[in-house]
């Protein structure tokens, strides 16, 4: 009985696995095809060509978009990690007047949907001349209320005695945070870092509004507009989609343990 169940589980999971992976295989398969072969239902290309990739890189600013996404997601992640850990620590461990009130204010901003903010952000960026700059892509994400909330939860678990010991050793308040408290929440920080990076790397709604010059597009914006312009040239569109996807897949293979553990931490703490 149990043996049949096991067999059933493996068969079912294998079918599901194929469904989950197949679109990626089809994407790569089409990107390697040429001519009318792209319309054939065979996943093995008649002849393999890397021409489509070369054309995407030549005809578009693909590498620039890649760099832009990397810079924007990277700076945002560093900023979120710095501010959210420090503020999370402050709310968890330092006494000060108005703490609860300020914390509720931070939390209440979680209720505001991004969609409500994009119009004011756009008008603001317009007035201040930020449109089509890195700064316009960056500024909305520099700290996150969710990250502060999450880091506060983790810092609450750090025993006060350890911080007190640092104080007796004569460390400054910032030193206590940096040397004693922060090393104890490193797993939480890496989870927050990974998700901030991924979220910004894949972000679309705000970037598609904030920039309209091809040399400042992020990867998702560039990919969307390139695909729209190359409509019906599916070998090209799939090559572009592959170029955008494959690096993420490679990184995912290396970090999958941290990413999935990170979901446990971030997803369940909320």
């Amino acid at each position: 009985m149990s043996k049949y169940n096991k067999v059933f589980a493996y068969v079912a999971l294998t079918i599901i696995g194929i469904i989950m992976v197949f679109p990626f295989l089809w994407m790569i398969s089409t990107s390697l095809k040429t001519g009318v072969d792209i319309y054939s239902p065979s996943i093995i290309p008649k002849s393999v060509t890397l021409n489509n990739y070369a054309r995407v890189i030549e005809d578009s600013n693909f590498l620039v978009w890649f760099k832009n996404s990397f810079v924007v997601a990277g700076i945002t992640t560093v900023s979120v990690l710095c501010f959210d850990t420090l503020v999370g620590y402050t709310f968890a461990k330092l006494p000060f007047r108005g703490k609860n009130f300020l914390f509720i204010i931070v939390l209440s901003t979680l209720m505001i949907p991004t969609e409500m903010l994009i119009i004011p952000w756009y008008m603001m960026s317009n007035t201040l001349g930020w449109i089509n700059t890195y700064w316009s892509l960056l500024f909305p994400g520099l700290t996150s209320a969710f990250g502060i909330f999450m880091m506060r939860q983790f810092f609450m678990g750090v025993p006060d005695d350890i911080l007190e010991a640092g104080r007796i050793d004569g460390l400054s308040e910032f030193g206590i945070f940096l040397r004693t408290a922060m090393p104890m929440v490193k797993p939480a920080m890496s989870a927050l870092g990974i998700f901030t990076f991924l979220g910004n790397w894949n972000a679309f709604l705000w970037p598609v509004i904030a920039v309209d010059k091809p040399d400042i597009y992020t990867l998702p914006v560039g990919l969307a507009l390139f695909s729209g312009e190359s409509y019906n040239q599916w070998d090209l569109v799939m090559a572009a989609a592959s170029l955008a996807t494959i690096p993420v897949l490679i990184v995912f293979f290396f970090f999958q343990k941290q990413i999935i553990e990170g979901i446990h931490m971030t997803g369940l703490k909320a």
């Binding site: 589980a9 901003t109 409500m116 119009i119 008008m123 999935i260």
Partner: protein, 299 residues
């Protein structure tokens, strides 16, 4: 001047939080209030006059057929994507929980779509569901089924988008369910087995009740996320000129319509009114969630 330890600590606390607090004030709170203000004006970005019209924008939204369509479509996205996505992922999580060898490989495979760019996979979907030459039509053709219009059809296009939403979110739900399942003590199932309970009885009387907090949490989260669906709709169903929303607005979502109003037509006041409506819906769901979750803690 000498401060006590407490005084010094609170001084540093204010220094540590000052910049982020300023950020929240300028980048979150003030813009949110500003959006309310804009929603009460006829605020055309290009015209000089921006008269105060009080609730006129909201009245107009009431009679706006496209807005109505976007609300109904968004309801459809939620109604299909959330229950199907949660049921499928619970099934996958239970399968994963029942095996040991290779579980981490399967888990990874199911999770891959969640980390990849929505824009990229949206275009893969679009290609697979092409009427002419798309893979799905080619394959169902082999079984003698006639060519389906999919994205060209007012009735089918939305389901193509829904299938993409489900496929992409499945891995995330599965991971959360799996964590929930791991918390269910094995002894419960063993006791049930001794009592001669059928698999269905075990599922109904042990798994579901014990997973209830996870189910509530995921339903609320998935509902709020799907309520804000934009990228998939924008990329899978945009027309030749980049105006998205499917044939006859059959896939347009609330956020996509807001985007079109604000950044294609520059009707900032009207679009802001729509964002206020969205805000109220999300707030209602969040408050509902707090109520339901609070009840759980009381037990």
């Amino acid at each position: 001047m000498k401060l006590s330890i407490k005084g010094r600590q609170s001084m540093w606390a204010y220094i540590f939080i000052s910049a982020p607090m300023l950020f929240f004030l300028c980048i979150r709170i003030y813009p949110a209030l500003y959006a309310f203000n804009v929603s009460l004006h006829k605020w055309d970005l290009l015209s000089k006059n921006k008269p105060f019209v009080f609730l006129d924008n909201f009245m107009d939204l009431f009679h706006d057929q496209v807005f109505k369509a976007s609300l109904i479509n968004t309801g459809k996205y939620i109604l299909f994507a959330v229950p199907i996505g949660l049921a499928l992922s619970l099934g996958i999580a239970m399968l994963l929980n029942s095996i040991t060898k290779g579980a981490s490989v399967y888990r990874m495979v199911v999770f891959i779509p969640y980390v990849t760019s929505i824009v990229a996979v949206s275009w893969v979907w679009r290609w697979m569901f092409m009427k002419q030459g798309g893979l799905i039509n080619n394959v169902i053709g082999l079984f003698g089924i006639s060519r389906q219009p999919f994205l060209d059809s007012t009735s089918q296009a939305i389901y193509v988008v829904i299938s993409n939403i489900i496929w992409q979110a499945l891995g995330f739900y599965t991971i959360i369910f799996l964590a929930g399942l791991k918390q269910v003590p094995k002894t419960y199932y063993e006791a049930a087995m001794i009592d001669g309970a059928s698999p269905w009885q075990k599922f109904k009387n042990i798994t579901i009740p014990l997973l209830n907090p996870t189910i509530v949490y995921l339903s609320v989260m998935a509902t709020i996320q799907t309520l804000q669906v934009f990228t998939q709709v924008f990329n899978i169903t945009s027309g030749g000129q980049g105006i998205a929303g499917g044939p006859l607005n059959s896939t347009v979502s609330v956020v996509l319509y807001i985007y079109q109003l604000a950044f294609v037509n520059y009707k900032m006041g009207y679009a802001s009114a729509a964002t206020v409506v969205l805000f109220i819906i999300i707030l209602t769901i969040s408050l509902f969630q707090m109520k339901v979750l609070d009840k759980k803690y009381d037990n």
